[in-house]
Each structure stands twice: as C-alpha cells, then as structure tokens.
Point group: C2
Chain length 893, copies 2
C-alpha cells in the first residue's frame, strides 16, 4: 500500500526501460528494478548482442498493481512512447494492417521462476493484422498458426479460460481431418480454428476477442502482473525462499519467429552441461518452431551439435556470443535464441540452474580457469544442494537391467511406487516413496514433483519443464522416455510389452536415464574428486567446527566419513529403547525402592559401557558429548491408554483375575508417571536429581569406557552433558555427583582421563541466566529444538497442524523447527552466549538442535560466535559449506 | 567452609560479648552478630534495666560450627575470661561448692524462632554444688528440684535422650508417692529422682553425667549450635523465609530463680495486647516457678494485673521498664521477667509477634501517638498477614451455642474435622479442613498446625507454644480450655458429657475462645475502621494500580469491595464451562464445518454478552481486560481416556451398535483434538487464528455489551486481550479481525465506544521480541504463570512432584509458581517491559499471573515499572500494601 501511495506522488517516475539497437536505458546490474530477464536483455543489448528490441516495465509496478489492483496512470503513456521507439527500430507498426509489429509479453522477476508466471506471444495480431502478416510473409499458414496460438494463449492466460477447452477443439479438429500433428494442419483448418476459438471466447466471456492491439497489450500486461500471485508462483517462492514483495517486471519485446520456415529455428542452451558440469556447449533446438515448443517438451528437440551442420554460421555466432556472456557474467549461461530467416536473435540469457554435482564441478573448473576465486566458488553452491550429492546411488556391484533409457535430466537414484498424478504423489509422498510418472509435467505439477522421489516423463528434452524443475529440486529425473506410454485414466503405463500399474515399484537412474522395474539396492555416495576439493576449500576458510549428532557407532562412522570433528550430541536414551534393554529399563522404573532400582541399573551398566566404547573408538581423539538420560520415564513403559482399555475390557468380560491384577498394578505405576505435559515434566536433569542412581550409572559407564580405552592408549575426551538445566543449582547438583562418581571410577581403574561437565541450554530460563550457569558449566550446547518449543510455546508433537496454517497465512515465514527463528529464539541464543562468556571468556559453546545443519541457522551460529554446530551425519557437509559461506558473507558486508 | 577458614586466620577475633553491671560490649543494633536476644540484653543492660549479667557467643561461631563440626579454638579462652567477669559481678563462683554460680544457656538468632532451638537452665549444678546451693539458699528442696530439672534438660537437649524417658520416671515416682503435682515432691523424692536420672543417663549413654561444670557449659553451647539445624528449626525457617546462614548466637547468663519461694515469680508479657492490639499492659506470671513453666503451658498462669496486688512495687517497676523499652524500640515489646526474692530481673525483651488485626491497630495507634510515621506504620504488617483479616468470621446473625470457652489465643473462625496428631493433620489437611486438638502443642507439632484450620488445646495460656505459633501463622487458636479432655489413644475427646470422635466437626472462634460442636456458617469480613485507615495510607503512597482477576460479576463485586481498580484478567472460558453452556461449546467443537461452528457460536453469543454486561456494570468506569478464549478445545469435551475405555468395553461386550458408533464418532474427534502437550498446543490466539469465528463471536459479545451499556450512559472501557502471542504477526492477525468486528458492531448499535486491543506476554519469545509486538499492542499484560511454565520448562500440572524435592534440596528457594522467580522469569519480564516501552514510551503494562498478589513479586513489579498488578480478589489488599511498601523500601535504599 505504502509503495503505491509513494508512487502517486512521484509523478515523473520512470516505469518503462527501453532496449534496442545497441542501446538500453538499463543494464545487467538492475535486477531489482528490471527483473533478471529485463536486466539481461538490457545488458546484452548494451554489449552488442543481437536482441529483438523492446522495453521492460519495472517490478515496482507489480507491487503497485498487487496493492491497488491497477497500474499507475502514467504507465500507459510511457508504454506508448516506448512502442513508437520500438516501431522505429523494428520498421513495423503496432496494429498496422500492412506491416504489423508483433510483440511478446513475458514476466521476469529478480530470481528466475521458470514456468511459474505467464507469457503471451504473437500479441498484436487481430482479424486484420493477421491478413497483413500473411501477405508480408507470404505465408498465410504461418500467419494463421501464429494467430490461433495467440488467441489460445490470450484466452487462457488473460481471459482465464481453461487450456483444455482449446485443446479439445484442436484435438477434435485433428480427428476430423484425420491428422496427428499440429503442423499438419493447413491454412483452412487454422482459419476455422481461429473462428472457433473466437466463438468459444465470446461464449465463455460474453465478450468478443479484443481487436484493439493496445487493449490486448494492457490486458496481457495486467495478466502477467496478476500471475505473480497465482498459487503455483506463490508455492514456488515459498519452496525457494523468494520474497513475495520483489514483484515481477513485464518484458514487451518485438517478436521474432523461428517458425517461418526451415531457415528458421529456435532453441535453448547452456554454456556448460547443467547436469554434470562438463565444459561442453550444450543445448537443444527445433527447426521451424516457436520457443515454447522446445520448453514445453511436446516435440523432442535436437542436440545443439546438429545446428553446426544445419546452420554453421549461426552456430559459430551463437557460440561466440554465449562464450562472451559466460565470461562477462562469470557463470554458466542459460540462454534462449531464435533464428528468423537465418538471422540469430538472443532472447534471453541468465545464470543457468544446475544440479549440485554440476555446480561443484563448474565452480572448481572456473577456479582452475582463473575465472573466479575460491571464495566466489564456495558461494556457487547452496549448502542445501549438497544433500543431493549425499543421497544414495545404485549399488555399482548390482547388475542393472534397464527396461528402457530416457534422457538423464537430473542425477541420482530414485526408487518408489508408481503414481500418475501430482495430487496423488503429494497425497502419499510423505508416507511412502513414490515415482511420479507423467507424459509431461506442467507448472501445476510442482507439489507432486516435490513429494516424489523421482520423476519420469515420456516427452520433453533436457530443458523441458520436468527437467528444469527437477534439477532445481535436486530430484532424480528421467525425461523424454518415448517408449513409456502413460495411460493416466487406467492408472497404468506400458513399456514395450510390460504393463506397470499404480503402486508397482520402479527405479530410476537420473545420471544415466535408465529405468528399471522393481527396487534396486542403493549405496552411500563418496565425497571425493572435485567435491572433495571443494569441501577442502570450505574447511580451510570456515571458523565453526562441525560435529555430528550420533547415538550409535554406525552413525559415528558415517559422520566421520562426512567430515565430522566430533560428536556434539549422543542421546543415551536411544540405547535404552533397544529390544534387549527395554525390559531392564522397565524393571528399573517399576522398582519400589532405590535398591531395586540400582539392581536394574547395574544390569544396564555394562551394556552402556560397551555402547560408549564403540562410539569413542569411532571418534578417536575427537570430543564426544554424551547427554545424560533425557526423556520422561513413562516413555519406556507400555502406553497408558492401551493398558486402560485392556484393564477395562478384562474387568467387563471377567477373565483371569490374576492377569487383571498384574495389569492393574502396572497401570497404577504408569498412572503415577503419567504427565499432562510430558515435554515440561519430569525429564532431563530432573530425573538425575530425583533418581541420582541413574546419573551415577551413566557416568560410571562413560568414565569406565574412557578408562578402559585409555589403558589401550586411546585418547578419549568425554564431555558429559546435563540436559534441561534451567537453574544453576540443578547443574551444581548433578556436577557434584558426576565428579564424585568419575573420581571413584578413575580410581578403581587406576587411570586418569580428561573429561568435561557441561550443560544443554534449552530452557529459556537457562539462556537468560547463562552467566550463573557458566559458573558451573565447562561448556554449553544450545538445544534449539527444545528452546524453540519452550520459547515459542509450540509442542513439536502438536504444533504441526497450526504451523502449517501459520505459514500459509504468512504469520510465520518458516517452520521454526526447521529454520532457526533468529529474531526470537536466536535472541535467546545470543543472550545465552553473551552472558555465558561474560562469566567464562573462553567458554566452549555449540549447538546440537536440528538447526545445526540448516544453512541459514549455521550462518547465524557463526555470527553469534559459537565454537561448533552439531547436526545429523548427512548434514555435516552442508554445515561445513554454510560455515565457510558465513565467513565469506561476513567479509562482503 | 570459607567463613571457617577466614576465622582461623583472624586470631584476635572477638567471639564473646559481655554484658552486666550497667555496661555491655554490644548494643541493640548488633542483631546480626549477637542475635536478637543478645542484642536486646546488651541494650537493656546499657540503659540500666536490671538484667542478670552474662555474655553472648556470636552467630558467626554457629556458622563455623555448622561447617567444621567444632568451635574455634580460641573460644574457650574467651569464655573463661567472661566467666571470671561474671563471677565478680554475681559474687558467686562457677563450680564452687560453697557459693556456686549457675547459668542459663540459650539460643538467640537474629530473628526470633520461638521454641525452635534449645535452652538449658541451672547449668553449673553437680552432685557437690547442689549441696552448696541447698546450704546457701537454706532450701534443699529447691536445690534438688533445680538439679533434677537441669539433668532432665541436659539429658534431653545435650545427650539426646528422649523427654519421655525422664517423664516416665517422674510420673512413676509421683504414682508411688500418690501425689499429682511436681511441686508436691519433697526433698527425698527429688534426691531419689536425681539419682535415678543419673543412672538412666549412664545406662543410655554409657557415660556418667558430667560433673565438670566447664565441660557442662561447652557441651550445652555445642548442643545449642547444633539445634540450629534440627528439623523443626529448618522447617520454621523455610516457612518464615529466614536464611539458613544467619546462625544463632548462644547467651550464657547468670541464673535468677523465680522458684525460691513465694517472694519469687516469673512471667512474660506484652506492652500491648498481641491478639487485638489494644493498648493494655498484658501478660501472665506464676509465683514460685521457673520461666519454662509459664511458656510450656503446664500450669495455667495468672493475669499480670494480679501482680499489682501481690507485688505492687515490682509491678510498678516492671511497667515503667517495659514502657521505656516500647518507646526506645518504637514497637510493642514481648518481655520475660523473673522476680527473685522480690528483686525484678528482665530476662528478655523483643518486638512482639502479633496477629494481623493487632498489627494494624498498633501501627495506627502508634501513628496517632506520634511514636512512628505513617510510612513506618505501613511496614509493620507483612502484606501476606492481611490474608488473616480477610478470612471469614462466624455469621453474627447465627446464634452460637458454645459448649465450652477457652482463651482466645489467635482470632478468626475455624471449622473442621477433629484430628488428634500433627501428623494426621499434615496428612489430610490439604484435602479437607481439620482442627488440631491437643492437650498442649510442642515445637514438633508445627507441620500439623500449619495444615490445620485451627488449633484447640486444653492446657497453656495466651503465651503458650500453641498461642504464639498460631498467632504467627495467623491461624485461629483457642488454648487453655481445661474442660476439654483429650484421649489421643482412643482418638476422642470429652467436653463435659459429650464425646467427640476423630472426624467429627467442630468450630472455633479464636476471637472469643468459644468452641462449638458442628459446623457454624461463616461470612466475609469488612475492611473498615483502623484497617480501612491503614489501607488508605497505603493507597496514598503506592504508585502501582491494583486490579483483580475476576470472571463473574460476583467476583468483580468482591474485588471492588477489596479496592480493586479494574479487572486485569477476565478468563472468558470459565463462562463456557457452565452446565448450560457446555453443550453449545461442544456443538461448536464437534461441528464439521465453519457454518455449523458459527451456528453453535451464535447460541453462545447472547450468553457471553450478558456475562460481560454484568462484569462491566460492577466495574463502572474502571477498565475491564477480557482475554479471548485460551484453553485447547479438547478441555470442553469428555475425557479421551474414559471414551476409550467405554468404547473398548462396549466392543468387547457387544452391546448396542448404534451407541457404540456414536461413541466412536465422538472419540474420533476427541482423538483429533488430543495433544501430547496441550500446554504448548492449539490454544490461545492459535485458536482464534485457525477459527476466526470464535474471536468474532467473543468480540461481538464484548463490544455489544459495551454498546448497550453506553446507551444507558454507562462508561465502559473494555480492553480486549489476545492470549499466548509469541509473534507480532499473531497479534496483527487477531487485531485486524477484532477491529473489523468492533467497527461493525458499533455501527449496528450506532454507538461509538473506546476500547483497546492488547496482548498477554506469556510466551518467552514474546518477551524478547516485545519491541515488535508493541507495534501492534495497545497494552501488555504479563502472564507470569505461563511465562514461568515455559521459561522454566515446568508444567504446572506435573512439576509439583519434583518442585517439592527441589525446594527440600535447596535447588530452588521458592516454588516459582508462588513467588516470581525474579532472577530468571523476572528478567524476561524486565526485557519485555524495556523493549515494549522502547517502541511505545507510554505502553500500559500490567501483570495478571498469580504472582500479582504475592508481596515480593509485587515489589518487583513496582521496581520494573509496571503500571498495575492484577490478582485474585482476596489478594487485592495484600497487593495494595505490598505496592505501598515497594515505594517505602525504594526510598530507604
């Protein structure tokens, strides 16, 4: 609203930026104002790249439009002025019957949102100009094909008529004509189609199709602005963390035609392979086609190498231009071009999206080519993308029998049950692994793609919608697999003679394009080669240590493989849930007195000691932080509700009295331990304070394990961590006990080991009294999961329902359990660090909540001066890169 | 430990302070060092009051003793020096056979702890000096009686032999002699008793009774120090919030004897009536008795007025001295005296404990007498004591038939079931109302007295243990009711011909001493007269406003009566739990869709409007803060566990299918709403955000009520409060809705009213982001209950168990739900206030947690600059006084 009002005052504000004939009002740096596409068009024009002339309506207008529901009044005037300039350069006139200027109208936000917003081509055609175009090009078929496409797009995008309505008419027409492809339609058919489309529009909208080309342009422009807020664009922004108030620009550009005959072509490409990162000129094109045909994946396009043979001059020019662009932008370029009667036009260039694997290779290569510095290279990969490199690949030892091979659009391995619609994928995708199989995907499918393990399409090329979006998501994707026949209605697909039904398992190899029936075993990836080098650079620059949360030796091993520098959190309770131990735990809990409790604990002692020895061995020389028992005891007992029901039924049906008595006795203890809010109940250090014998047993196990290894000359640094401390006296109580038991244990082994006693900071009160707690603590570890629960008052088990609504309604930007709420919970962390260090200047402080592996949270941790983050093993490399980026971004400030 | 070590270094430290012959080493201000009794003895000596000479061992030695288990080595030497001085003044010699000096050894902490620690009298007697004393006094009976008392006390206090052992021997002796009273025993009997006591000691301790008088003194001194940490002293300190590290002094004083004949007496008294505050000389004495006889309540003593007749000179001297002391100390004096052969000795003076009623009267009177200033007067009542003045009294309209009348020891009315032991009272006292009936109480009974509604004893006077302690507790108490015959073993008591069994109801009137069989109806007290005047002074001085938490008109009315200046918290949900409304609420919750929900809500609308109108009318002109619905919806539905059991049983027993289906359907919805941690679940503003129609209905009801009253020309200022806000966007969301509905409602009534929209600050995140929240909030109200729950991570429903252990183990000093944890949760409040006021300088900030009525928390609220506190109606006067004291204490700093 504010923006809109401001604009009203600034009467002379420039809303329209022109580009053409080697000169632009803007330049490549003005992405905020012109959007990515507009800025690049301006830049290309400025550096002499052949670009069809046009103008960009700035992003601010989009915000004005969103707020006011209309554009600023001065805009139309500015557009007219720009159109006159455009007509001069194009030597055509907008709306002129004899020599009509046609334009495209495209969105273009600061950050690329492929396919999310609307585009209209061939605008400027009407019942009269179409005749002029036919005469001018001497190609009536072309002119009417252009017109029917325009009406179709305009009808859908601007007038809101469903695509299917036009598609049905088209299909019906082809059936009558007994033809299969659009291209087989002749002039007469296309003319009829135009008439039928126009009639349909009149019927549906109660208005005739607009013949005034200026009206067409205004309507199209507004439709693009409106599309900024369509649901799929909103979803895309949410998934990609793009701010809603950036707005989109609108680019109006003279049309060039790749579909005026075989001396015409249209294509897209990358300066390097966006899937693997290889330095090869890479792309696809179609002769005699409009750009959308390539991207939409309806016809499978040809490799760009073929263009060298078919249009050698154009190919050389294209290579030269794109090389220049890559050097200028210092990054891989993703470009679109059209050849109109052998003349090359660049329609777009932008930094290319790429897979994580490609991003790493390109970044490393560019450093070696001296195009960029190491620090710059480290920012070329979103830490989150590393996840894609860590996911399983097919076990190379297994012989794979691919039934068919498509295009390897996005690497990785995916195994799942076949589903045929995005809705179905979204509905079941969080419960089971699914592969979304479609003829082709469209922007409406994005939620299903997000939910699926992988995507398989029968149509489309490496730059089709499915391919581009899947790469962006880091999802395994195989496209253009033409032998796959999808029958969505019957919910089955046929590959050769095999029929695969919904729910059947298939496996995809996104790196090779192979499709395999059934489930293929996968293995963990290795972090070597370019990725290893890349991560080494990250390690050299980062200041934060990265540890892993690991409870068992296997996890510790994985974590070490991923570069963890210690264990930041070992949750000892996970050791008690094991089948062979639960009975002992229950015996302990059900004990009537301390002696009986001690007896049961004694049974657990040796098992715990073995656990710790295993962990310590994996983490030789690195610190291992062990948290004392944390969950409430009732978690180890049978469910209260079940017992209640069983007892009630036994009573009502009058069975075995002894059984009932036993059940009721158990129920009494379960009831005693039952809590209304277990999250805020008798857990954490409160257990160790009320039942010191539990702490004693655990400390004895930890210190014994360390002592035994010390005798084997292995250096172990156990860090004993007291959970859920809210008051310094709690820590004091437990620390005294820990020291006493540790002393006794070391004495009994005749060994002295180094160990530390510290605490979780996970209760808000602990954060605000951290100065007091630091008097007793040798280290702090922020438990941001619980700190978020208590700081927000959100029970993780219950809040899911309303957090979803909160995010939808923009009350929260992110789920605070996934991304640390820096503004609120982060402040508690900051207060805790500052107060803690006020008491102990060199206090070691870390974080072991799940935020420790989330990039923006890691950067926050660096900024508030933590010593380390600890996260799940698979997120260790992500945290390593994020920690490096934190240093780099810090320098840039 | 530290203190002990320090003392070892300070070789010359003075541990012993002498007083006697008109001169003291110390004075009345040295209570920290000398304890209350010691300082007062020094002071009295200095101003010429006749005090038996002696010396005080300082409190620091007690701490040393607690830490090291022994006294500093230099102490014995200092004591010898003091003893020599003492011998000189007393003209007797310690341990001398011919002319023995006897001393008392008494505890004396900074704050009086009546009867909690140990005392030994007649020390210095042994098998030889007793003979000397007999000769000297020419009274062998007296000497042996003194000796047997000494052995008895020493045996119990120093040697740890149970009192009952000696009592049994004594009783047995009297039975043989066929006498009833101790006083009837002759010299021979007493001599035998001494021998039997000595034999018993040898048998029990394997050592002979110590004959070395210096050894006696050292042992007695150590026993007093040890008694600082006996369980009843520890309990007393906890109840009275006395620090554990103050320590007790030990006072060694030459004995004077009130039991050397009928020219001797001993007594205690007050300069004003400690029960009513009346300015009358008040006290009791016994002729020919030792001090303990008066306090122990074994013989019922005589009124002090009688002393005027029996010892007119002594009486005049006593009155003069005590008047002087009252003027000097500017407070009521509680004194002890002994008359030895017509010579008056003051043994002790201290500020007297008094009932709340007396405290008010005395404070007001003293201001009128110009003895103290108003501000001083306001500090003479602990705010918590006001509670005693607000408690019910017997309905004066009811004719009371007292069965018997005792001494009115502590005023008020008490109704309860009879119990006979302190343990029983403590065991059931929190579940039902009990009256503790004892022959006499002793310090071991303190936990039972605390748990009982009132205390009735058959023995003892107005200064007996029961009377003093009950007054301190503000408990109704009737003592010395000799017609009450208690049979503890049979668990019954007889009054005249009536037998009353354990569990029977009785009623006590502590203001008249009446005992009534059965339950007598009680009524609310009135705040007028001196109390009214006192509270007016408090109101004049305080800066904090005091509001009440009230949900229904009746509570609001009570609150106004107690001086509430508005409602700080109206919990609207309490209106929904009413029997007639719960079904509508359930209908709303069980509705499948918004429409059905709205329909159910509509039914509630008019009822809510009526509620609010009632509240508004009671609070004419004052602000009324209404909190929108707060608890999770499942609280309004049947209990999940019950439904589960019922359904399981129905299924197992195969009854009516339709019923089962109905039950199962309900269970499904209950399960949907079930939460693992409801405290952190879908409640507070989260309800209003997900179900805006609930907020709409409530706002409509509030604003409609205000509009309708506005039409009746009543000024109403509703403050609509959004609960559980953690993020500014939550408040923003609800505020927009509230404003919209309020606007519409006012429009429909054609009335404009003033209203405010504010928020609870009860989520820790809200406190740390209060600057953001203040952008939307027109007021803050700290919900310190929830803030404590989330800040500590303590579920109020569950934490009781371990908080008890925490307090016992000194991990926490107080239950943070009763007394605001200033150090932790208080910091969140402080941060919230500061940040909120940074955004809005004049932001109105209050507190509506239960801490709003707890005196130390009220003082904290004043200090952090809140505008008001809100508490339950009965605590409003307490908060008013605490708020005044906050100002007074603030000035003193």
């Amino acid at each position: 609203m504010k923006k809109g009002k401001k604009m009203n005052k600034a009467k002379t504000e420039k809303f329209v930026y022109f580009f053409g004939a080697g000169k632009s009002d803007g330049n490549g740096k003005m992405k905020d104002l012109l959007g990515g596409k507009g800025a690049n068009l301006a830049e290309m024009t400025n550096i002499g790249v052949p670009v069809p002339p046009g103008f960009t309506i700035i992003t601010k207008v989009c915000n004005y439009f969103s707020a006011q529901g209309k554009v600023p009044t001065e805009l139309n005037g500015q557009m007219r002025t720009a159109l006159i300039k455009l007509e001069k350069i194009a030597e055509k006139k907008f709306g002129d019957v004899a020599n009509p200027l046609l334009v495209s109208v495209r969105s273009g936000a600061k950050f690329s949102m492929p396919g999310m917003m609307d585009t209209i081509l061939n605008l400027g055609l009407n019942d009269k100009t179409v005749e002029g175009l036919a005469e001018l090009t001497n190609n009536a078929r072309f002119a009417y094909d252009a017109y029917r496409r325009f009406i179709q797009m305009f009808g859908n995008v601007v007038l809101g008529i469903e695509k299917e309505v036009f598609e049905e008419i088209l299909t019906h027409k082809k059936e009558i004509l007994k033809i299969k492809l659009d291209i087989e339609m002749n002039e007469t058919a296309l003319k009829e189609l135009v008439r039928e489309f126009e009639e349909t529009i009149k019927e549906k909208t109660k208005k005739t199709f607009p013949q005034d080309v200026y009206r067409q342009l205004e309507m199209a422009r507004d439709a693009v602005f409106k599309s900024w807020n369509n649901p799929r664009a909103v979803t895309y922004r949410r998934l990609n963390k793009i701010a809603d108030d950036l707005g989109t620009a609108v680019n109006v550009q003279a049309m060039v035609f790749g579909n005026m005959g075989n001396d015409c072509a249209t294509g897209v490409g990358f300066t390097r392979n966006p899937a693997t990162g290889e330095k090869v000129f890479y792309g696809e094109y179609l002769l005699n086609a409009q750009g959308e045909d390539v991207v939409a994946g309806i016809r499978t396009p040809r490799q760009i190498a073929d263009l060298k043979k078919e249009m050698p001059k154009v190919f050389e020019q294209l290579k030269k231009i794109t090389n220049r662009l890559e050097k200028d932008y210092k990054d891989v370029q993703d470009f679109e071009f059209t050849v109109e009667k052998n003349k090359l036009y660049m329609l777009q260039t932008r930094n290319g999206k790429r897979t994580a694997q490609a991003a790493v290779k390109i970044a490393v290569d560019m450093v070696k080519e001296k195009l960029i510095k190491k620090e710059e290279a480290l920012t070329r990969l979103e830490p989150e993308q590393i996840d894609q490199l860590l996911h399983p690949i097919f076990d190379p030892k297994i012989k794979i029998n691919a039934i068919v091979k498509g295009l390897p659009a996005s690497p990785g391995a995916a195994v799942g049950k076949v589903v045929f619609t995005a809705d179905e994928a979204a509905a079941v995708g969080d419960k089971e692994k699914v592969i979304l199989v479609r003829t082709e995907t469209c922007p409406d499918d994005i939620h299903g793609m997000d939910a699926a393990q992988g995507i398989l399409t029968s149509r489309g090329g490496m730059t089709s919608h499915a391919a581009v979006v899947a790469r962006g998501m880091g999802k395994c994707c195989v496209v253009g697999c033409e032998e796959v026949k999808v029958n969505e209605k019957k919910k089955e697909l046929k590959i050769k003679d095999k029929t695969i039904k919904e729910g059947d398992w298939i496996s995809l190899n996104g790196s090779t394009g192979e499709v395999i029936l059934g489930k293929v075993a996968t293995i963990e990836p290795k972090l070597s080669g370019e990725f290893g080098e890349f991560m080494k650079w990250a390690d050299q620059i980062r200041k934060l240590k990265v540890r892993a949360n690991a409870d068992i030796p296997h996890d510790a091993q994985v974590a070490r493989g991923f570069g963890a520098e210690g264990i930041g959190l070992c949750r000892t309770e996970h050791m008690f849930f094991a089948e062979d131990r639960l009975p002992m735990m229950q015996e302990m809990i059900l004990a009537d007195n301390e002696n009986a409790r001690r007896k049961a604990l004694n049974k657990l002692l040796n098992l715990q000691k073995k656990d710790f020895k295993g962990l310590f061995k994996e983490m030789k020389g690195y610190p291992v932080t062990i948290r004392l028992l944390d969950p409430p005891l009732h978690e180890f007992l049978p469910k209260r509700e079940e017992l209640m029901k069983e007892a009630a039924v036994m009573k009502a049906t009058g069975v075995d009295k002894k059984e009932l008595e036993k059940k009721e006795k158990l129920l009494i203890r379960v009831e005693e331990l039952h809590e209304v809010n277990p999250m805020l109940g008798h857990r954490g250090c409160r257990l160790g304070i009320v039942y010191p014998e539990i702490t004693e047993m655990q400390v004895k196990a930890i210190v014994s394990a360390a002592c035994e290894l010390a005798k084997e000359k292995e250096k172990i640094i156990p860090e004993i961590m007291v959970p859920l401390v809210g008051h310094v006296n709690e820590l004091k109580n437990q620390k005294e006990l820990i020291k006493k038991v540790a002393q006794e244990t070391m004495k009994s082994y005749g060994v002295k080991i180094k160990y530390m006693v510290g605490t979780m900071i996970e209760v808000p009160r602990a954060a605000v009294t951290a100065n007091e707690i630091a008097q007793e603590a040798e280290f702090f570890s922020f438990g941001t999961n619980d700190l978020t629960q208590m700081g927000f008052g959100f029970s993780r088990d219950d809040a899911g329902k309303f957090i979803k609504i909160y995010i939808k309604d923009k009350i929260l930007e992110e789920d605070p359990f996934q991304v640390l709420d820096q503004n609120g919970i982060g402040q508690l962390v900051k207060i805790g660090v500052e107060k803690g260090r006020k008491t102990k200047k060199d206090l070691k402080v870390g974080i072991c909540g799940e935020h420790g592996g989330e990039p923006s949270s890691v950067i926050f941790c660096h900024n508030v001066g933590l010593n380390y983050v600890s996260c799940s093993p698979y997120r260790v490399p992500i945290a390593r890169l994020a920690a490096a980026q934190a240093v780099i971004f810090g320098k840039k400030k």
